[in-house]
């Protein structure tokens, strides 16, 4: 065969069955692909729809697995309808489904029918961070006494290395309280919280823990995560929240296992 013919054959394989089969899987407006049929001259519409259903339902299930509290808040029917829109518009680009749904919180924020639940997107952001923490690399968190050997004059220049599982989610709503109330299976009472709540997500060993950060805590941690020294991060936190309590915040992040190493005097 001539090289040109080989290339032609190659192209015909490339462009044939998958090209024909794939586009209608997530697009109910398209007709059954011409490449497929039923056996013995049977129709293929309901047969092809099995694949459509498998794909759509399994991807909705994947989102439900990442966002169980979000689903509990909205109810299953609402959630599945919302997820169906998202699955069709933004299907996964990786076979690792625990990576799926990164754009889902933003989608929820824009979703017409979720406008009456303005905090829902932030709850979903905490859930996405929870799963990232769950699958993050294992690392030993800093010991509670890690700061003890640091001479006081070096404390301001100390730099902390974030634990691989640590995530921060900021919210203008009581997202941590709502997340916690809906994550378990137990019934819960009326949620009284109304103040903004920032979340700290950590997994020092095997269990993911979501904490409500004190005032200035999120700013403090965000600056530390970007590699700024303790002094600069504390100043930024104080500028953000005059009630920022440095010793309490340091004790809090050590207890949470938010960092894995400390550098000073370099």
């Amino acid at each position: 065969m001539l090289p040109a013919e080989l290339r032609e054959l190659d192209r015909s394989v490339q462009s044939s069955y998958a090209e024909s089969f794939a586009p209608a899987l997530l697009d109910p407006g398209r007709v059954t692909p011409a490449a497929v049929a039923g056996p013995h001259g049977k129709a293929a519409t309901k047969r092809y729809n099995v694949y459509r259903n498998n794909v759509t339902a399994s991807l909705i299930n994947a989102l439900a697995a990442v966002f169980p509290a979000t689903q509990r808040i909205t109810g299953t029917d609402f959630f599945r309808a919302m997820a169906r829109f998202h699955v069709r518009a933004t299907p996964p680009v990786s076979p690792l489904l625990f990576e799926y749904g990164r754009d889902f919180p933003d989608f929820i924020e824009r979703y017409e029918y979720a406008q009456s639940l303005p905090w829902l997107a932030d709850v979903a952001r905490i859930e996405r961070a929870w799963l990232d923490a769950y699958h993050a690399a294992d690392a030993e968190p800093l010991a509670p006494q890690a700061f003890a050997p640091i001479p006081p004059e070096h404390l301001g220049n100390t730099i902390l290395l974030p634990h691989p599982a640590m995530r921060i989610v900021r919210s203008r709503y009581p997202a941590v309280t709502i997340f916690s109330a809906n994550r378990g299976r137990d019934p819960f009472g009326q949620i009284e919280a109304a103040d903004p709540e920032d979340a700290l997500v950590t997994r020092p060993k095997l269990e993911v823990v979501v904490r409500h950060l004190p005032p200035g805590g999120a700013v403090f941690l965000t600056h530390l995560m970007s590699g700024e020294p303790l002094g600069a991060a504390a100043s930024a936190a104080l500028a953000d929240s005059p009630s920022f309590d440095l010793p309490a915040n340091i004790a809090g992040i050590l207890a949470a296992g938010a960092f894995s190493d400390v550098k000073f005097g370099g």
Binding site: L9, S12, V13, Q14, S15, S16, Y17, A18, E19, F21, A22, L25, L26, A35, V36, A37, G38, P39, H40, K42, A43, A44, T45, K46, R47, Y48, V50, Y51, N54, V55, S58, L59, N61, A62, P91, P92, V93, S94, P95, L96, L97, F98, A133, Y134, H135, A136, A137, D138, P164, A165, R203, L206
Partner: protein
């Protein structure tokens, strides 16, 4: 009758992290995280566990901790679901590297993948999608399997699909296609008896005829699973490979027949949604084990007779 063909367990060399548990003639179950406490409570199980490779491709955390505990005491089968071996586009190198890392880390006794595709362009469809059987797809699939086997340094078992449609452009039967793939690549086969039953019903052929044409001497593992019932456009029965319930009686009968022909094979009960409590799944595996043990006795007697 062929010998009891399974892949050798990876030898427990000085570099091995885990013991080499034998898998020959054993029944096993899908490993589900929610069963871990019950399994650990009972201690070492008789059977093996199969895991979907993609669930263990995160960096760390509870999945790896659980698989490490399971692997210490049991044979493990690593079952890839998303390599897209049957697709027209090249194998995803990143995904193949992740797969190889798992094979190296957990030293699974069996490694398998599907004759199907799940990714097109950049979209991952999370389903096992069908392909036409032609000389062109045969060459492509064989290349993909070569690439996977070279990367991981060992042969894989390729699983026959369950399908709902046919491609008029196909020029070969599924069994002919699979036989030729095994011949060209040296891969073994994972015979999913439920898939045979589902596809045969859906396409109106005899599962016995399929099995008669299937290269049983290449089989290294069996799958059994539950299916659901729907209807096609003509109102005829259409079976769905749903993995959400017990194995059907007709499938158990086919399975008995297969084991009678190819000897006791590692046999997995696949149960992936509406997952029952551990004892239910364990009982389903025990039913498979009883069939395996019954045939094992016959096979041993035949061997003794043959050696006289």
């Amino acid at each position: 009758m062929n010998d009891l063909v399974t892949y050798r367990a990876t030898p427990a060399s000085a570099t091995s992290r885990f013991p080499a548990h034998p898998i020959a003639g054993l029944a096993g179950t899908s490993f589900k995280h929610e069963h871990l406490p019950a399994i650990l409570d009972e201690g070492k199980q008789e059977g093996f566990f199969e895991v979907h490779a993609e669930n263990y491709m995160g960096a760390g955390g509870p999945p790896h901790d659980a698989l490490t505990r399971i692997r210490r005491d049991h044979p493990v089968s690593l079952h890839g679901v998303c390599m897209s071996i049957g697709g027209p586009q090249p194998i995803d190198k990143t995904h193949l590297a992740r797969f190889k890392a798992l094979v190296d880390r957990y030293e699974p006794t069996l490694v398998s993948e599907h004759l199907a595709w799940s990714t097109h362009d950049t979209t991952f469809f999370n389903d096992l999608l069908p392909l036409p059987y032609t000389q062109a797809t045969l060459a492509r699939v064989a290349d993909h399997i070569d690439e996977v086997q070279v990367a991981i340094g060992r042969p894989i078992l390729l699983e026959n699909p369950s399908t709902y449609v046919v491609f008029p452009e196909s020029t070969m039967s599924e069994t002919g296609f699979i036989r030729e793939i095994a011949r060209r690549t040296g891969c073994g086969l994972l015979l999913d008896v439920s898939n045979v039953f589902v596809s045969a019903t859906n396409h109106g052929y005899s599962p016995l005829a399929y099995l008669a044409a299937f290269p049983l001497d290449q089989v290294g593992e069996i799958h059994l699973a539950g299916h659901a019932r729907q209807t096609d456009d003509e109102g005829d029965l259409l079976l769905i490979d749903s993995h959400d319930g017990p194995v059907a009686d007709a499938v158990w009968k086919l399975y008995d027949l297969v084991i009678g022909r190819c000897g006791p094979m590692p046999t997995l009960i696949e149960w992936d949604s509406d997952i029952p409590d551990w004892p239910v799944l364990r009982a389903e595996a025990a039913a498979a084990q009883a069939i395996l043990d019954r045939h094992a006795r016959t096979f041993t007697q035949e061997k003794i007779r043959a050696s006289r």
